[in-house]
C-alpha cells in the first residue's frame, strides 16, 4: 500500500460543508400565509431580532453522538455492577439519592416542554434546530435519570424510598422545592420561564453545582454511577447554554426589554440560589463521608462556579448592553452561604423533619465536625450540639427530635416564594398580597411574590407573568394531624405496614428501626395558619421573636 494511503482517503468524497448544511436546515421554516401559527404561550417581551444558532449541528450528527454517549453510560453501569460497586458504596450518600433522583426527572422533562414555548416565540428558524435538540436532550435526561434510580433500587441494600419515587415526589415537603424549580421553567411568561429562569440562570449557572459538583462527591463515596450519568447529562448543557444566550442576545437588542430582563435575572438568580443551594449544598456537604480537608467545600465550589464563572464572566458582561446587574444579590447569596449558614440550616431542617422524609439521614459524627469546623469556622458552636442530640435521639423509643422540647429547635416558617423554610431567622419577613398574609425567607423572595409575579411591574403592565398558586405551604396539608397518620397518608411506610421508610440512622435491622407506634401522639402544625390568626400587633411581636432565632440546648 502506498505511503500515506488511509481508509479515510480511499472512501472520502466531497460533501456539503457544516455551514451550508445548517443554512439549508434553517431554511426549512417559512412565514405562514394561510393560517398563523398558534401563539399560545404569552410573553411581555418583544423579540424582533432572529437568534443565531451557535452550535451549528444537524440531527444527522446529533443522534449518533448521543447514542455513543449513551453506550458509554450504560457500559459503565454494567461495569460498576461487575466491580461490585454497591459493596463499597457509602449508604449515607445513596440515601440522599432517594431525594435527589425523586426530584430531578421532572425538572428535566419540564425543560423539554419549555422548548415548545421558546421554539415558537423566537423569530427565524436557525435556533429552532437548537431548541429541537434540547427538547430531545431533556427527554434523554429525564428517562436516563429514571433508569439510574431504578438501578439503585435494584442493587442498593435498602430500596425503600426508591420504590415509591414519583409518588414521593408529589407528596414530600422537600420535593416541593424541586417542583417550584420545574414549574418555574414552564409556567407564566414564556421568556421569563423558558429562557431566563431555565437556560440563562439554571442551566448556565447552577447545573455546574448540580451536575459537576455533586458527581465529584458521589465518586468520593464509592458511587461511580452518578458521575457517569450526570457528567454525560452535563455534556448536553453547553448546547442549552448556547440556546439561552443566543435568545438572550436577541432580547437584549431591544431596550424595551431591559426592565423585564432586570426583573427576571433578579428573580431567577435568587430563586435558583435558594432552591439549588439548599438541596445540592446539603447533599454534597452532609451526604458525604469523605472529609478530606484538601477538597473544596460547597461554598468554595459555589465561589468558583457561580461567582467567578457565572457572575464575573456571564452576568457582568451584560452590563455593556445596558442591563443593570444586581450585584448586591450575588453578594447577599454569598453571605448566606458563608456567613449565615444557609446550607447547614437546611441540613438541620431536613434532619429535624426526618419522620416525614422518605430516605434515611444518619447523624454527623466527630469526624464530620472536624471537617465542618475547618471549612466553616464557627460551625461547631452553632451545630455541634444539634447533631449530638440527633445521634442521641436516633434510637426507637426516644422522643423524636422534631417534637422533643429538650433540644431547643424551633420549627420554621415556610417561604411562600422559594418554598425553602425561612431558616435565616434574622432575614424573616412577611407581607400582605391580595389581602392575605404570607411569610418569606428574605426580602428578595418577598419582592418576587409581591412585585415580580404580578400583573404590573414598575408601572408597566405584565399580563403574561405567572402567579404563585396551590397549597404552597406543605404544613397546611397536615395541619393538626397526628404525625403517624400523616406518614401513613404520605405512603412513607415500608411493606410491613408499620416500619417507617425514613430512619434517623443507617442500621439495616428491623429491631433498630422506627415504626409508626414510636411516633404516634404528636401533631403536625402549620406555622402559616397560626401566624395568620394573630392580631397585627401579635404578628409584629412574633416576627421580632422569630428574628431573634433559637439556641440548641447543650447536651450532657
Amino acid at each position: 500500500m502506498p505511503d500515506g494511503l488511509t481508509l479515510n482517503k480511499i472512501v472520502a468524497q466531497r460533501g456539503i460543508s457544516i455551514g451550508e448544511a445548517t443554512r439549508r436546515v434553517a431554511d426549512l421554516g417559512w412565514t405562514p400565509s394561510y393560517v398563523q401559527e398558534a401563539m399560545t404561550f404569552p410573553t411581555d417581551y418583544k423579540i424582533k431580532k432572529s437568534p443565531r444558532d451557535p452550535m451549528k449541528q444537524v440531527l444527522r450528527s446529533y443522534f449518533p453522538m448521543q447514542e455513543e454517549k449513551d453506550n458509554r453510560v450504560y457500559g459503565a453501569l454494567d461495569a460498576a455492577l461487575r466491580g461490585d460497586m454497591f459493596r463499597n458504596v457509602e449508604p449515607r450518600w445513596v440515601e440522599w439519592m432517594k431525594l435527589f433522583l425523586a426530584i430531578i426527572p421532572f425538572p428535566e422533562i419540564s425543560a423539554a416542554r419549555s422548548m415548545a414555548m421558546v421554539g415558537r416565540l423566537a423569530p427565524g428558524e436557525e435556533l429552532r434546530t437548537g431548541f429541537a435538540m434540547q427538547m430531545v436532550d431533556e427527554f434523554r435526561h429525564s428517562t436516563i435519570q429514571m433508569n439510574l434510580k431504578k438501578w439503585y433500587m435494584e442493587n442498593y441494600i435498602d430500596p425503600a424510598g426508591f420504590d415509591i419515587t414519583e409518588a414521593a415526589f408529589g407528596r414530600c415537603y422537600a420535593t416541593t422545592i424541586g417542583r417550584q424549580f420545574a414549574e418555574g421553567f414552564v409556567t407564566g411568561d414564556a421568556i421569563t420561564s423558558a429562557n431566563v429562569y431555565l437556560t440563562v440562570v439554571a442551566e448556565t449557572a447552577f447545573t455546574n453545582t448540580l451536575f459537576v459538583a455533586m458527581p465529584s462527591e458521589a465518586a468520593r463515596n464509592g458511587d461511580y454511577a452518578l458521575p457517569t450519568v450526570f457528567l454525560s447529562v452535563q455534556s448536553d448543557e453547553s448546547r442549552h447554554i448556547g440556546n439561552g444566550h443566543s435568545l438572550l442576545m436577541s432580547l437584549i437588542n431591544d431596550p424595551d426589554n431591559h426592565q423585564l430582563l432586570e426583573r427576571d435575572l433578579k428573580y431567577a438568580f435568587w430563586q435558583n440560589h435558594a432552591i439549588v443551594d439548599a438541596a445540592v449544598g446539603t447533599i454534597v456537604e452532609y451526604g458525604t463521608t469523605n472529609r478530606d480537608k484538601n477538597k473544596e467545600s460547597y461554598a468554595e465550589l459555589w465561589h468558583r462556579w457561580i461567582y467567578e464563572d457565572y457572575y464575573r464572566t456571564y452576568m457582568l458582561p451584560l452590563e455593556k448592553y445596558g442591563i443593570k446587574i444586581h450585584h448586591d444579590d450575588v453578594g447577599a447569596a454569598w453571605d448566606r452561604m458563608v456567613k449565615k449558614n444557609y446550607v447547614h440550616l437546611t441540613a438541620q431542617f431536613f434532619s429535624v423533619g426526618w419522620p416525614v422524609n422518605f430516605w434515611r439521614i444518619e447523624a454527623q459524627t466527630e469526624k464530620d465536625f472536624e471537617w465542618f469546623e475547618h471549612k466553616y469556622p464557627g460551625w461547631y458552636a452553632e451545630f455541634g450540639d444539634y447533631w449530638k442530640w440527633y445521634a442521641k435521639l436516633s434510637t426507637p423509643g426516644e422522643k423524636a427530635i422534631l417534637f422533643n422540647g429538650d433540644v431547643g429547635y424551633s420549627y420554621p416558617h415556610r417561604c411562600w416564594s422559594c418554598m425553602v423554610p425561612c431558616l435565616i431567622r434574622e432575614d424573616f419577613c412577611c407581607d400582605e398580597v391580595d389581602g392575605q398574609i404570607y411569610t418569606y425567607c428574605s426580602e428578595i423572595c418577598r419582592w418576587t411574590h409581591k412585585t415580580a409575579f404580578a400583573a404590573e411591574y414598575e408601572g408597566r403592565p405584565t399580563p403574561a407573568m405567572g402567579r404563585f398558586s396551590g397549597r404552597r405551604e406543605w404544613e397546611t396539608c397536615y395541619d393538626g394531624w397526628d404525625v403517624a397518620d400523616a406518614i401513613k397518608d404520605l405512603g412513607f411506610v415500608r411493606s410491613d405496614g408499620e416500619t417507617l421508610m425514613p430512619q434517623p440512622h443507617l442500621i439495616f435491622d428491623d429491631k433498630k428501626m422506627w415504626k409508626l407506634e414510636h411516633l404516634r401522639g404528636d401533631k403536625l402544625g402549620s406555622p402559616l395558619q397560626a401566624f395568620r390568626k394573630l392580631t397585627p400587633e401579635a404578628r409584629e411581636a412574633a416576627v421580632a421573636e422569630y428574628r431573634k432565632g433559637f439556641k440548641i440546648n447543650p447536651i450532657h
Binding site: P32, E37, T143, N147, R171, T187, F468, H505, I507, F508
Partner: protein, 358 residues
C-alpha cells in the same frame, strides 16, 4: 448507646434482610400488562397530577389561573388520562438507538450511491421532480415537526407528551434528512437548484393545498387536534401518498435507488407514530364516560382537516405525470391512501366515509 454507633458494612442488595429490603420495583402505578415494562418505569407519573400524588396541587399558574398542566387544553376528555401507554415504548435509549441507526443507514446509502455515480444517472425529468417536489415536501415534514414540538407541552401525562415529543423528533429528523440528501446529490448533478423546493412550496399551485393543510395544523390551538390531524389525516392522505404512492414507487424506474431508501425511513417512523396515535384516540373513543362526545369531536376534526387534505391531494395529482417513466398512477395511490385512512379511522372507532367516500 446511640443507634449511629453501629457499623455499616456492605451497601449491596441482599446484605441484610429487613422491612422493605426486597421492595425492588416501582410500586406507585399499575402496569398495563402483567409486569411493568422498562418504558413504563421510565415514564409513568414523572409528570405529576393533583388527581394522583400531587398533594399541594400545581404551585405556579398562568396569569389567568390556568395551572402548569391543564386537562382543558384539549376539547377531548378522559376518565383517566394516565391509562395511556405509547405502543412503541420509547424512552431515551431506544429513541437514540433507532434514530442513530436510521441516520447511519441513510448516510451509507447516500455515500455509496454517490460513490457509484448514481445521481448522475438519474433520469433528467426525475431530477427536476426531486429538486422541485421532494424539495417542496421537506417543508411539510418540518411543519409537522414544529407542530408536534409545540403540542408536546400540553399533554396531561408524561406518556402522552413523550409520544408526541418522539413524533416531533422523527419529523424534524426526516425534514433534515431530505434537506441534506438533496444538498448532497446537488454536488453531483449540474444545475441542481436547491432553492427551487422552497419556491415551489411557497408559490407552486400544486403545493398550496398541502401548505394550507400544514399551516392549519400548525395553527390549531388544541394539541390533540394537532396530533390527530398529523397522524390520522395528513400522514395517510398526503404524507404516505407522496412518499410511498409516488417517490417509492416511481424512483427505481427513473434510475434512482437512493430516494426510496431515504423516504422509507419516514414510513417506518410513521408506523410507530401511527400506532401511538391510534392507541390514544381509541382509548378516548372507548372512554365509558366521554367516548361518544370524543368521537364526535374527532369526526369534526376529520371533516376540517380531511377536506383540506383531500383538496391538497388532488392538487398534487400533476406530479404523477412529470416523471418520464410512469409506473404509478395518482388515482391508484390516492385510492390506497383513502383505504388507509378508512382503516385507521375504523381502528380508532369513527367513520370517515362521509368525508372521503367509500
Amino acid at each position: 448507646m446511640s443507634a449511629t454507633q453501629e457499623p455499616v458494612k456492605s451497601g449491596a442488595a441482599g446484605a441484610a434482610v429487613f422491612a422493605g429490603s426486597d421492595s425492588r420495583r416501582y410500586n406507585y402505578y399499575d402496569p398495563k400488562g402483567r409486569k411493568a415494562t422498562h418504558y413504563e418505569d421510565m415514564t409513568v407519573d414523572v409528570q405529576p397530577d393533583p388527581k394522583r400524588y400531587l398533594l399541594q396541587d400545581w404551585i405556579i399558574s398562568f396569569a389567568d389561573g390556568t395551572p402548569t398542566y391543564y386537562e382543558g387544553w384539549t376539547q377531548l376528555k378522559s376518565s383517566d388520562w394516565h391509562k395511556y401507554r405509547a405502543v412503541d415504548q420509547e424512552w431515551e435509549r431506544t429513541h437514540y438507538q433507532r434514530q442513530s441507526t436510521i441516520v447511519g443507514m441513510l448516510k451509507n446509502v447516500i455515500e455509496n450511491g454517490r460513490r457509484s455515480g448514481a445521481p448522475a444517472r438519474f433520469d433528467k425529468a426525475w431530477v427536476k421532480v426531486l429538486q422541485d417536489h421532494l424539495g417542496a415536501y421537506k417543508h411539510a415534514e418540518f411543519g409537522l415537526g414544529t407542530s408536534t414540538m409545540q403540542a408536546q407541552r400540553y399533554g396531561y401525562t408524561q406518556m402522552i407528551n413523550n409520544a408526541i415529543l418522539t413524533n416531533s423528533s422523527y419529523k424534524l429528523r426526516f425534514a433534515q434528512d431530505l434537506t441534506l440528501y438533496l444538498g448532497e446529490i446537488a454536488l453531483d448533478i449540474e444545475g441542481f437548484d436547491l432553492d427551487s423546493g422552497k419556491t415551489h412550496w411557497l408559490e407552486d399551485p400544486i403545493w398550496q393545498g398541502t401548505r394550507k393543510s400544514i399551516e392549519t395544523i400548525m395553527g390549531a390551538t388544541d394539541y390533540l387536534e394537532q396530533y390527530f390531524a398529523t397522524n390520522v389525516i395528513f400522514e395517510p392522505l398526503i404524507g404516505e401518498l407522496f412518499r410511498s404512492g409516488f417517490v417509492m414507487q416511481m424512483a427505481a424506474a427513473q434510475n434512482d435507488f437512493i430516494s426510496p431508501a431515504i423516504v422509507s425511513a419516514a414510513e417506518g417512523d410513521y408506523e410507530r407514530n401511527l400506532a401511538n396515535t391510534v392507541e390514544l384516540f381509541s382509548m378516548l373513543v372507548q372512554d365509558q364516560q366521554h367516548g361518544e362526545k370524543n368521537r364526535q369531536i374527532l369526526v369534526n376534526w376529520a371533516q376540517t382537516h380531511g377536506a383540506l387534505a383531500v383538496e391538497a391531494a388532488n392538487q398534487l395529482q400533476p406530479i404523477w405525470s412529470q416523471p418520464r417513466v410512469k409506473v404509478a398512477q395518482f388515482a391508484d395511490a390516492f385510492d390506497q391512501a383513502k383505504n388507509r385512512l378508512r382503516a385507521i379511522a375504523a381502528e380508532i372507532g369513527f367513520d370517515v366515509r362521509p368525508i372521503i367516500g367509500g
